[in-house]
């Protein structure tokens, strides 16, 4: 009898605590410590010339992790901890957390909206001030949950206009805005197809990855790719998708399709996720020269030698510093009380460029930069965009700065 | 004039307790080389206990054993076999899914090692020789043992024991389950062992068999050694006299005789053949308020009859009809609906859930009674269970205690409590007092008699003749699946006339 009493007692205790604190967080943002007005110690920093990689000539605050005074904890919602892009972002944010007093928490592999919302509420519990929606399944609902917990939310919902509007209404001041590459994933797929068309590839194989499993990111990339193929056909290149390979490597059906492709006359293999698992079969089939590989991928050592050897001809690359790194200045500004807002006073959507790398020189330019340990967007550049450190920083300087980055700018 | 044979095995003051029950009470037992020593006694007399302790199947509680003059205390069957004691038991000892040869040489594979290999060919050849040795030529040793029927599987087991060339071979009631051909094989083995100056301990119910084969016959009763008869004094009458011996204590069983049984039939069994076991075209009727005893050797089909009556056994032909309602009993639910109750022979695996509490076990047959409107309040459960625990005086540390921690007698009381609580009209009891000490047995008998007085019908299946004689109004004896004889309750009824029919 004691046992049953105990479990009923336990359940009611939990219910009481939930009901008690049920009402608290909705309204005020009592527990995120308000916005400590960090008054920068006078002397506006001289607007430094837009030279990337310049030394720390920004504001006179040393970028050694002491600013801002109170550590800003940030939660990053990620889909797959082992994906190249997410690891690249992690590396960049590690670099920034040495320069600024920020601490980034990464989610476990998330499979569904519920997991995403749970992680966001975990971040709140861990005292995060903001959430970076790198992976987003629940669209504006994720932003709303962050706002409910009094946390800022950064995320462009893949460029989906009405989602951004929805987020603005539901979250008000907590929505920081997000990048748009037009329809991010859709554009990614399209530029992949167009780049291959330019290189005169006609018979193309497309790996649709999670499209057949209903993962939105991959579905849009597939639609974009097919649209790109139609566009290429319209202006003269009779390009056609000869085979679609679904799913992930390791399953029997993927292996079967892969062998079938090796048996076909193919000009190029394009993949909506990384293309590394094709190197081995293509080389074994001795088609390294005849078949070009293209992917929405990363500038990383995996592709380095194969890009230079010509096996990989196209990489559609979202530079993690430009596309995702811009969350940091937005967050730091918001936390320090001078949130960057557009005309109507809300978080805003801003254009960013996606880099389509088609030549080894372009690839090596970015690769060597990273290899030598510095970055396209350095901490000093970010310091420029912080109102605390540079009073005349505002939404427009932010937009022009990040909007200007294309592959060419890196080449100078 | 027993010639002075060499003493092979001796047990001095061998005792064995199973909790409160005394299975062996300081027994001195000798086995000589070149002799077949018979052992006889009713179930629970301790004959299987002695031999299983000697073979190493279970440890003794007290006393010592000597084998070939050396102190003997085997901890496992393999150790016993290595020391030279082979044992053939009743239960199935072969492993299905592997070949006959693999069964014979189970655990002995090293014998056929040729370099890294264990040569299958050599093993099969040797197995063929072993089978021929005991005259069983019908099987190919490389075939799967599942292809053989029960009889032949037992012969394979015998071949395996003989192959280990034991100094002393124990045959424990194996002949009852075998056909005539199988029995011949065992008899030859025993004679050959005797010729090679080895020893055999032969346990059986079949008096005639014992008389033909054994040189000496030891009679056991209630864990005590009564006497040892040599060849001359071995005849059925004297054996039975010693076997029975127990004076019919008045208050032990039912005292009344000649009570009138109502001729209203409660249950009609019509030409029933059961799926398993030996039961074939069996018919009988059960009258209201009588104790119907059912006896016979352990494989005569009586246990399957118990399951048939309770709807547990698949019927190939015929039917069991509950006369009052005219319904046929197809499954346990319909049986219980008509007020049937069933106490199974293997209590721990079929009548009880050992890891569950006493309370859960007792209420497990009477949910409809305790919770008519689906709600089962703690108080109604407690009342129901306490009533049974008190009336049966079950010794326990509380109703929440696991049944596994109770003694044999108390476990049996819990089973009885389960069915008495349900207030069944017709109770099927299969070996109700098996493995229970004398004190609890007496209580059980009072209880059964009391139920009879409460006008309940009881069908008691038992392997113990004294119990059947003492308790039942009518007694049916089964042999090889068919009714071999029926006896009415009377003072003069004794075991001899029953055994006549039974064996």
């Amino acid at each position: 009898m004691k046992k049953k009493l105990l479990s009923v007692l336990l359940a009611s205790a939990m219910a009481l605590s939930m009901a008690a604190c049920g009402g608290a967080p909705a309204g005020g943002d009592s527990n995120n410590g308000g916005n400590t007005q960090q008054d920068s110690n006078g002397g506006s920093a001289d607007a430094n010339v837009q030279d990337d990689g310049g030394d720390a000539s920004g504001g006179d605050v040393a970028l050694d992790g002491s600013y801002p005074a109170e550590t800003v904890k940030i939660g990053l919602v990620g889909y797959d901890n082992t994906s190249e892009q997410q690891m690249a972002i992690q590396e960049y944010l590690d670099y920034l957390s040495e320069k600024f007093n920020i601490e980034v928490m990464y989610s476990e592999n998330l499979a569904d909206a519920e997991g995403e919302l749970n992680f966001i509420s975990d971040c709140a519990a861990a005292g995060c001030k903001a959430v970076i929606g790198y992976y987003n399944e629940a669209l504006s609902e994720a932003a709303k949950t962050a706002a409910d917990y009094g946390m800022y939310y950064w995320g462009g919902f893949g460029g989906n206009k009405d989602e951004v509007e929805a987020a603005k209404t539901t979250c008000g001041e907590y929505y920081l805005g997000g990048y748009t590459l037009g329809e991010a994933d859709y554009e990614g797929g399209r530029s992949l197809a167009l780049a291959l068309a330019e290189q005169g590839c006609e018979k193309v194989v497309f790996c649709s990855g999670g499209a057949s499993f209903g993962v939105t990111q991959f579905v849009e990339r597939k639609e974009g790719f097919l649209a790109g193929v139609e566009e290429a056909k319209a202006n003269g290149v009779n390009m056609e998708v000869v085979k679609e390979v679904e799913g992930w490597p390791g399953t029997d059906s993927f292996t079967a399709d892969q062998t079938a492709v090796m048996g076909m006359e193919v000009d190029a293999i394009a993949s909506s996720f990384d293309v590394a698992m094709w190197f081995q079969p293509v080389m074994e089939a001795g088609k390294a020269e005849s078949v070009k590989l293209a992917a929405i991928g990363e500038v990383s050592d995996t592709y380095h030698d194969f890009f230079n050897s010509g096996l990989v001809s196209v990489i559609v690359y979202d530079n993690e510093e430009v596309v995702f790194g811009n969350a940091i200045p937005l967050i730091l500004n918001a936390v320090s009380g001078n949130k960057l807002v557009d005309a109507d006073g809300n978080g805003f959507q801003y254009e960013v460029q996606r880099w389509t790398i088609t030549t080894p020189e372009e690839f090596n330019a970015v690769y060597d930069l990273h290899d030598s340990g510095n970055w396209v967007v350095t901490a000093e550049d970010i310091a420029e965009l912080l109102v605390d450190l540079n009073p005349d920083a505002n939404a427009d300087t932010f937009k022009t700065f990040y909007g200007s980055f294309g592959i060419e700018s890196v080449m100078q | 004039m027993a010639n002075e044979k060499e003493l092979l095995f001796e047990a001095r003051k061998l005792t064995k307790h199973f909790g409160p029950t005394v299975a062996l009470d300081e027994v001195d037992f000798k086995v000589y080389r070149g002799e077949i020593t018979g052992l006889i006694g009713e179930n629970g007399s301790g004959k299987s206990t002695i031999t299983s302790i000697a073979a190493g199947m279970q440890p003794a509680t007290g006393g010592e054993m000597f084998f070939e003059g050396k102190p003997h205390r085997p901890s496992t069957m393999i150790e016993g076999a290595r020391l030279g004691i082979g044992m053939i038991v009743q239960e199935q000892g072969t492993v299905s899914g592997i070949t006959i040869a693999e069964n014979i040489f189970a655990g002995e594979e090293e014998r056929f090692r040729v370099g890294p290999f264990i040569s299958r060919g050599k093993m099969n050849a040797e197995a063929k020789r072993v089978l021929e040795d005991i005259g069983f030529t019908g099987a190919d040793p490389s075939a799967y043992i599942d292809t053989l029927d029960m009889q032949s599987r037992k012969l394979v087991e015998i071949a395996k024991t003989v192959y280990n060339k034991p100094e002393m071979l124990v045959v424990d009631e194996t002949t009852t389950a075998l056909s005539q051909h199988g029995r011949e094989i065992i008899y030859n083995i025993m004679r050959k062992m005797k010729e090679n100056n080895k020893a055999v301990v032969f346990i059986s119910h079949d008096l005639q068999e014992l008389i033909d084969i054994c040189d000496t016959l030891t009679v056991l009763r209630d864990g005590k050694l009564i006497t040892t008869l040599d060849k001359e004094r071995m005849d059925e009458a004297t054996i039975k006299k010693y076997m029975v011996g127990r004076e019919m204590k008045g208050d032990y069983y039912r005292a009344d005789y000649g009570t009138k049984i109502s001729d209203e039939t409660v249950l009609k069994v019509d030409r029933v053949t059961s799926g398993s076991g030996m039961l074939m075209n069996f018919s009988m009727e059960v009258h209201k308020g009588e104790i119907l005893g059912i006896g016979g050797l352990s494989h005569c089909g009586m246990h399957e009859l118990g399951k048939v009556l309770f709807g547990e056994e698949k019927l190939l032909t015929g039917s069991v009809t509950h006369v009052a309602s005219g319904d046929k009993i197809e499954n346990t639910q319909s049986a219980m609906k008509h007020g049937f109750g069933y106490v199974s022979k293997n209590r721990d695996t079929e009548s009880l859930v050992l890891t569950a509490s006493i309370q859960d076990n007792i209420i497990s047959a009477s949910y409809d009674r305790i919770a008519p409107n689906f709600v089962m309040t703690g108080s109604s459960v407690r009342k129901f269970v306490d009533e049974q625990v008190e009336s049966l005086s079950i010794k326990c540390a509380g109703v929440q205690q696991d049944v596994q921690f109770l003694s044999g007698g108390n476990k049996q009381k819990v089973v009885f409590g389960k069915w008495i609580g349900r207030d069944c009209d017709i109770l099927i009891l299969d070996c109700p007092t098996r493995g229970v000490d004398i004190g609890v047995k007496a209580a059980m008998y009072q209880l059964i008699d009391q139920m009879r007085k409460d006008n309940k019908t009881i069908i008691m299946i038992s392997e113990e003749l004294p119990e059947l004689i003492g308790m039942s109004d009518r007694l049916i004896i089964l042999k090889d699946g068919a009714a071999a004889g029926e006896f009415k309750r009377s003072e003069t009824l004794d075991e001899n006339s029953i055994i006549e029919v039974m064996i």
Binding site: T82 | I78, V95, A106, M280
Partner: protein, 329 residues
Amino acid sequence: MKKILKNTGMTIAIPAIVYVFFLVVCSLRGVKGFGVGDDFATIIYTTLYTGLIALAMSYNLTCGRFDFSVGSTIVLAAIVGGNITKENHLSAFAMLLVIVAIAAVLGLISGLAYVLLKIPPMVVSIGITMVYEACGLLFNRAKGVKMIGNSALIFSRPPYSVLIVAAALAVLIFLYNFTKFGYQWKMLRSGQKIAVDIGVNEKLNAVLCYVIAGVLLGLAACMYLSKFGTVAPEIGLSSSSYFMSAFLPLFIGGAIEKYSDKNVGVLMGAFAQAIITSGFAKLGLGSSLQTVLNGVIVMAFLVYTSNSYKIGLHRMYKEKRSRALAAAK
């Protein structure tokens, strides 16, 4: 002689029937080139790869021990072994040894965990899977292993792949039929109590099963690594996807065992599974539809194997009933 013919006939029956079935369906649907050329190469690879995993599982599953950590052992062995090979530029054969050794040790650990903790195998293997997957993630900072173009990756192509599986099969047939371990394993499978009473050391036998499974999984890891050149760590028990396709071969192997040898039976099952997958791919069925059909086939086999004893029982009942009726006349 006749018996041998019957046995070999029955052994190859299932894969043959499946092959013919798909040949017919493909030709009806006008799909050319089923099971020829490259398709056949894939069928061979999938047969050997799934066969190795099914063989590894068969030694534990038939003894009632479901091992959840099959997938995580493959991943961890491939990642650790692959990186060691890459750093020290080992030869293909050396890589094989390293990966198989690591997998064998992993098998030993999960075997000892089961035997020493005496917890139901299903439960302990889930704990083990979590730990192995996490180690795979932490090793090389979640980058897994990338050995693309490395000269050691030769085990997915016929001469080598067939060689290592043939060698494994030979060893298994030897172990299964001619060693003490094999005899005792067969006894423990259906007669656990009797075997232990007789004195068979069940603990040693169980641990050996896990080590053998480890070795086989090591071979499978080499084949996977050679095929794709890269292995990413799995997390959150998702490594269970590796053994999904092993069920059908296990059941078919169980059915074929009487006619030849369990290990050959399991490989035949894997061969049938590979043909089915290749057939589906050829007919252009979507991958989700394939999983559904595969699942249905496995369920059908499940129902057959678990109820096949009833046929024998039924025959016995019928025979006894006729005997009873005859006696009653």
